[in-house]
């Protein structure tokens, strides 16, 4: 081992900040890819990453980590473990791979943007590691489902999803493009690495890693635990970026970037993680409810993190706390009901034991959301499962791109009105699911205003024919790919023989 410890020479690996002479600052750092928010060039040079690592350490660590994950997969591959997973857990895993695998690879583009357009050499180095990390995450999370593709053809969506216009993928793409692929370097540091990775991937990855181990899916558990160690490292690019902004008197800029992305991330996490934690993970394996996870990781730990930097919780905090009680329950009903429009097989997750758990975690659940399931259960038991399927499409939010669920929030007693939020802007009418979603849009209309939601496309003639089969085809879902009930309606209990129910 070389004799000098890292701290003795590390500064020499990251002091490559100099004054440009032959091109202007805007020529070398165009604002569209690197918004300085008016902070002078030299003020960025103090950017100091909390977590230090050298190239040598990186390749030594990562080679070992990769060998570990790939060898777990090889052992498990032979044991056909995927065949033995519970249907709910399968739904969670298949949804995860579709929404996350290629998106992680794309996060590498966001990291490369910071690696080129970050405003300090130290930052660019950290982002270079981040670029490699995200390459790893994209490749691991496609390689592993690929091994099980023959057993479960739905895993094709780990690769295919981002090429489709499936509605959940439109929502995910809209979020992630705004967050990193179509974002500038400074905003990316705050919105991807700080808000999303420090705040939310903890929730997705730590939460799901714990649940995976309990569900017996060691493959998935080992995978995401390993990924999380990389995330924890490169997520730390946000903190020094915030410090530079705050020091330059731009705390409001950092706060605004945080608030916008925090809300956006919340909506997609409620959709993906909310359903996985509270409905898809087998009830005996659940470690926390989604709401408890949010309270622990986001509301306590994450708030403390940004308070340390002089930032405050977002202005819409009460609305967030309010939605934590109900929005993912509404999403779950929506996803189940519109299950042909998703690439996994949703499970209802409302057997008597599960309802008991839901009632305990969300007092009043039986009286509010439970009633919808009572009706669907009756239809199934009476031999009419087709009545649990949709004939029309819901309204979709022009910000988060998720169906507007305000009527369910209203019916459950959490909202004062069932109506969506409406904005007329430059001659077009926009619909939002919530006040913060409208606010997000209004913060940067140039980024969003010309975008068409899937319902705008449906109503505007982009989707032809404008029928449910036409829309499913537009979403990239062949008839055999459309989601079906993951348990063949076992949750509803036995079908009542026709003569008795008549």
């Amino acid at each position: 081992m070389p004799r000098l410890s890292r701290s003795e020479w590390y500064d020499l690996t990251r002091d490559m900040n100099w004054d440009l002479s032959y091109v202007s600052e805007d020529e070398a750092f165009p604002p569209v890819l690197s918004n300085s928010f008016g902070v002078p060039a030299h003020d960025w040079w103090v950017w100091d990453e909390p977590y230090k690592i050298t190239y040598t350490e990186y390749v030594h660590n990562q080679a070992g980590k990769d060998a570990g994950v790939y060898s777990v997969n090889n052992v498990l591959n032979r044991s056909h473990i995927f065949d033995n997973l519970e249907p709910g857990w399968k739904a969670a895993v298949i949804a995860h791979y579709g929404a996350i695998a290629v998106a992680e690879y794309q996060a590498g583009i966001g990291e490369a943007r910071m690696g080129r357009f970050g405003r300090a050499a130290a930052w660019r180095n950290m982002a270079t590691f981040g670029t490699l990390d995200e390459t790893r995450h994209g490749q691991l999370q496609t390689y592993i489902p690929y091994q099980a593709l023959a057993k479960e053809p739905r895993l094709d969506w780990a690769h295919k999803a981002y090429h489709t216009n499936e509605w959940g993928i439109i929502a995910a793409r809209h979020l992630f493009d705004d967050m990193f692929t179509a974002n500038d370097a400074v905003s990316t540091a705050i919105q991807l690495t700080f808000t999303f990775e420090t705040g939310f991937t903890n929730l997705q990855f730590l939460g799901m890693a714990a649940d995976a181990m309990k569900a017996g899916d060691f493959d998935f558990g080992a995978l995401i635990a390993s990924i999380q160690t990389d995330e924890a490292r490169h997520a730390q690019q946000g903190e020094p970026t915030i410090k530079v902004l705050v020091k330059a008197g731009k705390a409001d800029v950092a706060q605004n970037l945080l608030d916008r992305m925090f809300w956006r991330a919340w909506k997609i996490f409620a959709l993906l993680t909310g359903l996985s934690m509270d409905y898809y993970t087998p009830v005996e394996n659940r470690t926390h409810s989604f709401k408890e996870f949010m309270e622990e990781f986001i509301n306590k730990q994450f708030i403390d993190t940004f308070r340390d930097f002089g930032l405050e919780k977002p202005w819409y905090w009460d609305q967030l706390l309010n939605e934590m009680n109900w929005v993912h329950h509404a999403y779950h009903i929506g996803v189940y009901f519109w299950r042909p429009t998703v690439w996994w097989n949703p499970v209802a997750g409302v057997s008597p034991a599960e309802r008991e758990w839901l009632e305990e975690k969300y007092p009043g659940w039986n009286e509010s959301f439970g009633k919808y399931w009572d009706v669907m259960g009756d239809n199934v038991r009476n031999g009419h499962p087709e009545l649990t399927l949709p004939e029309t499409f819901p309204m979709v939010c022009n910000s988060c791109q998720v169906p507007v669920c305000t009527p369910a929030g209203y019916a459950a007693g959490y909202l004062d009105s069932p109506l969506p939020h409406i904005l007329d802007f430059e001659g077009r009418r926009y619909t939002f699911c919530s006040e913060p979603c409208q606010w997000v849009f209004e913060q940067d209309p140039e980024q969003f205003k010309g975008h068409l939601s899937i319902i705008d496309r449906f109503l505007g003639g982009v989707i032809q024919p404008a029928t449910i089969p036409g829309a499913l085809e537009y979403m990239g879902l062949s008839p055999e790919e459309c989601g079906v009930d993951g348990t063949d309606y076992a949750w509803a209990g036995p079908v009542i023989p026709a003569e008795k129910s008549a």
């Binding site: 020499l12 490559m16 091109v23 490369a112 790893r136 994209g138 179509a182 079906v484």
Partner: protein, 335 residues
């Protein structure tokens, strides 16, 4: 349980009806870059959002485009896992090289005149080499397929590797010959001010402002980097050897392996593009020609700097070698 009953797929559906089973390298890269030529715009934003327009102009709109970029392959076929595994071994080797020289205390024994030359020549290098890292990441974020993106990302990491080992060496020199060698100003002042460094700095700063993805690839990988790699990895190494500095020579020889990997994919990409559309030879050639005066000037200034060292190389050799390295690369590309 509603297990999907379908004919087991051979591979990802987007890869079509493949004859040969795709490799791990391919199934973890093919068609990952979903936003290239996506309609109505690359990203799921307003199609006229500024960054959509940036990509439409500089990527989709680049003159350096072919019908299908997905057919390109890295000759090394490297996945992330391959990259860190290979480099883990190479770094283990470099650790051993340094161990050997630390045990022998060889840096202390260097001729003070050579140390003085190193301070002027090798110590500031981390600035230009860092710009090669930055530009490789630009090419990566703009490239049309993941196969290309991965090559350029690994190249950027290689540049960081080179910077870091030179940083370590700088600290070794400082410990043996005076703390000033490791001060930022010792590297930055010549980089910013000395005449010898200005042609290189001018060239690299201007390269930072090249945003067409194909042009950025051509300028970095066909002209600038091969020249700098020859000047640093080969010519400086030769000079180090003449001055009994085996440590530096060994480090540089190692970096040249990385540079060779970059050349391999660069040649493969140029050949792939030219095979798809022979007219692209003119496009690339035009970009290359435009930058040749700047690299020539850089090579001359660098040669003059090397000539100030003890046991200097025969004059003319350095410039000639840089020109030859570039010409060989271009010829291999079919340009």
């Amino acid at each position: 349980m509603a297990t999907t009953k379908r004919k087991p797929p051979k591979t990802w559906s987007l890869l079509g009806d493949v004859k040969r089973r795709p490799s791990t390298y391919e199934v973890t890269a093919a068609k990952f870059n979903y936003h290239f030529r996506r309609e109505p715009a690359p990203f799921e934003m307003d199609p006229a959002a500024p960054i959509n327009l940036w990509y439409l102009a500089n990527r989709e709109g680049s003159p350096f485009n072919v019908e299908d970029w997905e057919g390109f392959r890295d000759p090394a076929r490297m996945t992330y896992s391959d990259y860190v595994t290979v480099q883990h071994d190479r770094e283990t080797y470099l650790d051993a090289v340094i161990d050997h020289h630390e045990a022998a205390d060889s840096v202390t024994g260097l001729d003070p005149a050579w140390v003085e030359a190193l301070t002027r020549i090798a110590v500031p290098l981390r600035f230009p080499l860092h710009i090669l890292q930055m530009t490789a990441l630009y090419v990566a974020q703009m490239a049309p397929s993941a196969y290309i993106i991965n090559c350029s990302n690994f190249q950027a990491a290689d540049e960081m590797r080179r910077v870091q080992r030179l940083a370590y060496l700088t600290k070794m020199l400082a410990n043996a010959h005076g703390d000033a060698i490791a001060e930022t100003a010792t590297a930055r002042s010549p980089w910013e001010e000395d005449a010898a460094w200005q042609p290189m700095r001018r060239m690299l700063e201007k390269m930072l402002a090249v945003y067409d993805w194909g042009q950025a690839f051509a300028v970095l990988d066909l002209v600038v980097k091969p020249t700098i790699d020859e000047l640093v990895n080969v010519q400086l190494a030769a000079l180090a050897e003449r001055n009994g500095d085996d440590l530096l020579a060994q480090l540089l020889a190692e970096f040249h392996l990385d540079a060779q990997r970059s050349k391999d994919w660069t040649i493969a990409l140029a050949q792939y593009a030219l095979a798809s559309d022979p007219a692209l030879a003119d496009t690339l050639r035009e970009w290359v020609d435009e930058w040749i005066p700047a690299v020539d000037e850089t090579a001359e200034a660098w040669a003059a700097l090397l000539a100030t060292a003890p046991n200097a190389l025969p004059s003319g050799q350095v410039v000639e070698a840089a020109g030859r390295a570039r010409a060989e690369l271009l010829a291999a590309c079919g340009l």
